[in-house]
């Protein structure tokens, strides 16, 4: 199986504070991965590096063998932690924008999901609740047929019923050769669908293991292990 995301000794410093220190990891195609860590552990920094929004202080990051840039953006569908969409726009206008931007964007998929979640394509982002806005964003991101989905806190603001639907969407929409990386601290909600988990703390990878291996070896859930490892 080939590697889609590779980090080699990645370090990112902001001033004299290291947000990431010597991160090494290989993520294979066809996996659903949980990037798990407490607030401020470096999850978002890592995802931003993979999207070329930040550049590493040292080390290198590769997506399908390439340095993050224009070419990799064709392969990566990214859900940022904060929205970058203009809130005066109507949902169908944003869909048109995405069609212009991304060759792999499937508008019919997006309209289908909007319907399931009872979101009117004519509504403006501005007049939507925080949760509905998040749903729209995730729909847009999952309507691309990308090789790598990088989802930064995709379920934080939505209600539990919509959470279930979103997880279902992630399971059904990703193709066998695509990888989904989900950064979150809401572990119990998503752990059933994860193949592999990476724990990150203070900018370092502290554990990387298959989810079932954790349950098998420790006899506890990923959520319980997380609470133990990161006990305050």
């Amino acid at each position: 199986m080939s590697t889609i995301l590779e980090c080699k000794g990645v370090t990112k410093a902001f001033g004299d504070k290291e947000a990431l220190s010597d991160v090494n990891m290989n993520i294979d195609q066809g996996r659903i991965i949980g990037l798990l860590g407490p607030n401020g552990s470096g999850k978002t920094t890592l995802i931003k590096l993979a999207n070329d929004l930040l550049t590493p202080t040292s080390g290198e990051i590769r997506i399908a063998g390439m340095k993050p840039g224009i070419e990799t953006k064709k392969l990566v569908s990214y859900l940022p932690e904060k929205t970058y969409l203009n809130d005066w726009m109507r949902v169908h206008q944003i869909i048109e924008l995405f069609m212009d931007f991304y060759k792999d964007f499937k508008p019919e998929k997006a309209y289908d999901m909007l319907k399931r979640l009872n979101i009117n394509p004519n509504d403006r982002l501005k007049f939507m609740s925080k949760g509905t806005k998040e749903k729209v964003q995730l729909i847009l991101v999952m309507s691309r047929e990308a090789k790598l989905y990088l989802l930064d806190e995709p379920i934080g603001g939505v209600d539990p019923a919509a959470r279930d639907y979103i997880l279902e969407t992630i399971i059904t929409n990703y193709k066998e050769d695509a990888t989904v990386v989900i950064s979150t601290h809401l572990i119990s909600d998503i752990e059933k669908i994860l193949d592999h988990v990476v724990f990150i703390n203070n900018g370092r990878v502290v554990l990387s293991s298959s989810a079932d291996e954790i349950r098998n070896e420790k006899g506890k859930s990923v959520d319980a292990l997380f609470r133990e490892v990161f006990k305050c």
Partner: protein, 123 residues
């Protein structure tokens, strides 16, 4: 049948147990076709890779047969199913007897409780 998972045990083993139960209870009778992996994964709300792994294990055990072109089905060998079912029964009873022993019941007592209960419940 609704799927139900405990998060402190591997999802993979729980999937195997639950699919076995569906086979034993004739939800999937001998020789019947199984839905595609993806559909089963979606229904159980688990990762398709995990479902795939569980089905491969069941295939290894002989309960499930893969056809080159037309997906998977339950084995037609009813003997095989019966054997697996018996093994499950033995495992469960062993576990039960072990618990009873810890509670301090001897053989006679356990048997007499079972007999009187099954009369009452008309099993």
């Amino acid at each position: 049948m609704p799927w139900d998972f405990k998060s402190d045990r591997p999802i993979y083993t729980q999937l195997i147990e639950q699919i076995e139960l569906m086979i034993f209870s004739d939800t999937y009778p001998p020789g019947s076709r199984l839905p595609p992996v993806r559909d089963m994964a979606q229904e159980a709300a688990v990762n398709p890779n995990t479902m795939q792994r569980a089905l491969s294990k069941l295939e290894e055990d002989g309960l499930i047969v893969t056809h080159r072109t037309s997906g998977r089905s339950v084995t037609e060998d009813e003997n095989m199913i019966k054997k697996a079912k018996n093994k499950l029964a033995i495992d469960q009873i062993t576990e039960f007897l072990e618990k009873m022993r810890k509670l301090g019941f001897d053989r006679e007592e356990v048997l007499s409780i079972i007999t009187s209960m099954s009369e009452e419940m008309k099993i």
